[in-house]
């Protein structure tokens, strides 16, 4: 099992020969530094980039001794969450109003289609009466041709067509 690399830095005997790279704490402090970032070892491949970023942020704040910073980060995070939630809620309500308006429009259109269809049906129903008023009559009598026993004449073309 791979263990994350640890390093302990003590400021009890400061090396005066080296330049100071950070303000010294009043007391010696142990801090945990995460692994050196060897691919496939320290990172969790199953975490997404957002989760990874959050973990790094949490890790970073823990390396700092100032609690004010943690509070500020928390407050900013909470404010961002609240703002995001408010934005989402506003958008939802806006979409809901829009959906209601569209639904209302659809309902109106459906009613209009129903009414128009009804008018069309009534006009269609009155067609026979109107045709009769115009003097149109169904065909009277019967004209038919008896084709029993009829044989088509064999034309030269017909012969050519039948091998």
């Amino acid at each position: 099992m791979t263990m994350p690399a640890r390093s302990v830095r003590s400021k009890a005997s400061p090396d005066r020969g080296h330049p100071r790279i950070q303000e010294l704490p009043t007391r010696p402090e142990l801090s945990l530094i995460k692994g050196t970032g060897k691919p496939g070892k320290a990172r969790h491949p199953e975490r997404g980039p957002v989760a990874e970023g959050a973990m790094r942020l949490i890790g970073w704040t823990r390396t700092r001794g100032n609690p004010l910073l943690r509070i500020m980060v928390s407050v900013v995070f909470l404010a961002a969450c609240m703002f995001g939630s408010l934005m989402l809620r506003t958008q939802m309500v806006q979409d809901s109003f829009e959906a209601t308006r569209v639904q209302h429009e659809i309902s109106n259109l459906t009613q209009d289609v129903q009414d128009d269809q009804n008018k069309l049906d009534q006009l269609q129903a009155s067609l026979p009466d109107k045709a009769q008023q115009l003097g149109m009559q169904p065909q009277q009598g019967l004209n038919s041709i008896d084709l029993q026993g009829y044989k088509p004449p064999q034309t030269p073309q017909g012969k050519a067509g039948n091998p």
């Binding site: 809901s96 209601t100 109106n108 009804n118």
Partner: protein
């Protein structure tokens, strides 16, 4: 007390009083804060729940009633969304119109650009009257009653409702969703289609018969509503969509029905008949293509709801058409054959009862086919001597006489056919020629369709079934018997060839004329009928035409009055359905000897 001390005393007193008032204010503020904290921290949730519950209301969503269609899918009945306009008289009383200015924009009240000119109910009525097409005074009167709910108009169109929405009368005038049943062919089949009541339930005709299929299932939605009753978006907690009723497709062909009705109306006018009716049945499917009469009831009207289609409700003695049933029974029971010879006088006395033919003639040499062709009552009585009463009854029953048809139409009368034990000496013989029992046109049509279907009787239908059709076929007589009776019926139509002819097609028919009771209760009325099968050589249709009290210079017989109407209908049917023409008749059974 010096002035300085007085000033000091006054100063102290003022401080004390200010402190007291301040303390009281602090106390009140603390109480308010405490209450606020209690509400917010301990009671907040229940308060919010109570408020939400107060706003949350279930709303019913009405399901639409299904349509009634003809066989070609044409709409015969359908439901449309409509609104009932409801007023709140209490709110109307406190109405003050807002005059239109530059600053009000559209949020004001005016009538064609002019100020409303009245407050309260009168002002609301003036605004509303043009949209509803009602008198403002009348509307004002309706809105001036005590209470908070008054229906101002029923079943207005969505267009009117939208116009009312724009009047700015929210909170005073509301619209409740309703529906209206419309019938595009209202007068064509009023009593047949029937109608619905105010609750939307079918109460007559097809509307009643198919009510279960036509009726849908209402839905509902539960949401929080605003002050004016509008839905607050995103607050729907429960919802069930309505299920609309199913469409019902009839076997009725609107084109055929229209033409048949026209033929009946012109025939009724020509023969000055009280009424006429006709039934057209497809013999191959047993579907009813037309049930027509000359009544002018509008579908959905009160008249259509209280009356039934004459084709099922009107009963009459079939007269000589009944001879076909008697002849079929005699042949099936081998009492006679169609070629049996009879010498038939024009009257006969049997059991002290005299029977006459409808016309005077000498002793004629007729076969049984000839007796049917000449519609001889005396001949039928002679032929029926060895035909037992029970058989007479059995065959009438097997042909469907005296029984309600399978159509299931409300208001159908099953007719009247009493048991043979109750028949007197005369009735047992009049039964042979279609008198002494009563039937309706639908029963009579199916009885003749049984002969056209080679002796098999099946259930008629007027509604297109979605599944397999259960026709319940029953063999009544042998195929040979049915063919011989049809042969004799063809001889009947040949006799009437000059008056009743469908050019190019052979017809097997039987005429009937019977005396019926008139309004005085005596036998003063006449029913003339004609039932025909066409084409006789390849039956496609059976058509029955019945006239009540026809008057014609040539006579009142069915062959003379109902026959020509039959021919007119038959010609139309042959052309519409492109039925192949008949082949010449070669197998006629002799009618004389």
């Amino acid at each position: 007390m010096s002035g300085k001390e007085t000033k000091r005393f006054w100063h102290l007193s003022f401080c004390k009083r200010s402190l007291s008032v301040g303390l009281i204010l602090v106390l009140v503020a603390s109480l308010a804060l405490g209450k606020l904290a209690y509400i917010q921290l301990f009671d907040g949730r229940s308060m919010a729940q109570a408020a939400a519950a107060g706003r949350t209301v279930p709303h019913a969503i009405k399901a639409q009633r299904g349509r009634i269609l003809d066989v070609n899918g044409r709409v015969l009945a359908q439901s449309l969304e409509r609104y009932n306009i409801v007023g709140d008289p209490e709110a109307a009383a406190s109405f003050i119109p807002v005059n239109c200015t530059k600053h009000t924009g559209d949020n004001c009240h005016s009538i064609k650009g002019h100020p409303v000119g009245a407050d309260g109910a009168a002002g609301v009525a003036r605004l509303l009257a043009p949209a509803l097409g009602m008198n403002a005074m009348e509307l004002g009167g309706k809105l001036s009653v005590p209470g908070r709910y008054v229906v101002l108009a029923k079943r207005v169109t969505p267009e009117v409702k939208r116009a009312i929405d724009k009047l700015g009368l929210q909170g005073i005038i509301t619209a409740e969703l309703s529906s209206e049943r419309t019938y595009p062919h209202a007068d064509l089949m009023g009593a047949l289609i029937g109608g619905i009541d105010d609750s939307g339930k079918g109460v007559a005709g097809i509307e009643q018969m198919e009510n279960r299929r036509l009726t849908g299932s209402d839905g509902y939605t539960v949401y929080q509503q605003g002050m004016l009753g509008q839905e607050i978006p995103g607050t729907v907690t429960r919802q069930r969509n309505p299920v609309n009723g199913k469409d019902v497709t009839l076997t009725i062909d609107q084109d055929v029905l229209w033409y048949v009705r026209q033929a009946l109306k012109s025939g009724c006018e020509r023969y000055h008949a009280d009424w006429a009716l006709a039934v057209v049945q497809d013999t191959r499917t047993n579907e009813i293509l037309a049930l027509a009469d000359t009544d002018d009831y509008q579908a959905g009207s009160d008249q259509a709801k209280v009356n039934s289609s004459r084709a099922v409700a009107e009963t009459f003695e079939p007269g000589s058409v009944g001879k076909t049933i008697s002849a079929a029974g005699m042949l099936q029971e081998q009492v006679h054959s169609m070629t049996d010879r009879f010498t038939v006088p024009d009257h006969i006395t049997l059991d002290n009862q005299q029977y006459k033919d409808s016309f005077d003639h000498g002793a004629e040499h007729w076969t049984l086919a000839g007796i049917i062709q000449n519609s001889s009552n005396v001949g039928m009585v002679m032929a029926g001597q060895n035909y037992p009463d029970q058989k007479r009854y059995d065959y009438l029953t097997r042909f469907g006489i005296g029984q309600v048809s399978a159509l299931g139409l409300p208001g159908e009368s099953k007719g009247l056919l009493t048991a043979p034990q109750t028949w007197d000496r005369r009735t047992r013989n009049t039964i042979l020629f279609g008198q002494g029992y009563a039937t309706n046109a639908v029963q009579l049509t199916n009885a003749v369709a049984t002969l056209a279907n080679k002796g098999v009787r099946s259930d008629q239908t007027i509604v297109r079934s979605q599944g397999a059709v259960k026709a319940h076929p029953v063999r009544v007589v042998d195929e040979k018997v049915a063919a011989e009776v049809m042969n004799a019926m063809e001889s009947v139509s040949e006799k009437y060839e000059k008056m009743v002819k469908v050019e190019g097609y052979r017809v097997a028919a039987k005429t009937g004329t019977a005396e019926v009771a008139d309004s005085s209760g005596g036998l003063g009325g006449i029913v003339s009928d004609w039932v025909g099968i066409l084409p006789a050589d390849d039956p496609h249709f059976v058509v029955t035409v019945v006239l009540k009290n026809p008057q014609s210079a040539s006579g009142v017989y069915g062959g003379i009055t109902a026959g020509p109407i039959f021919a007119q209908i038959g010609e139309f049917l042959m052309q519409k359905y492109q039925v192949p023409t008949s082949s010449p008749r070669t197998d006629a059974i002799p009618v004389t000897w």
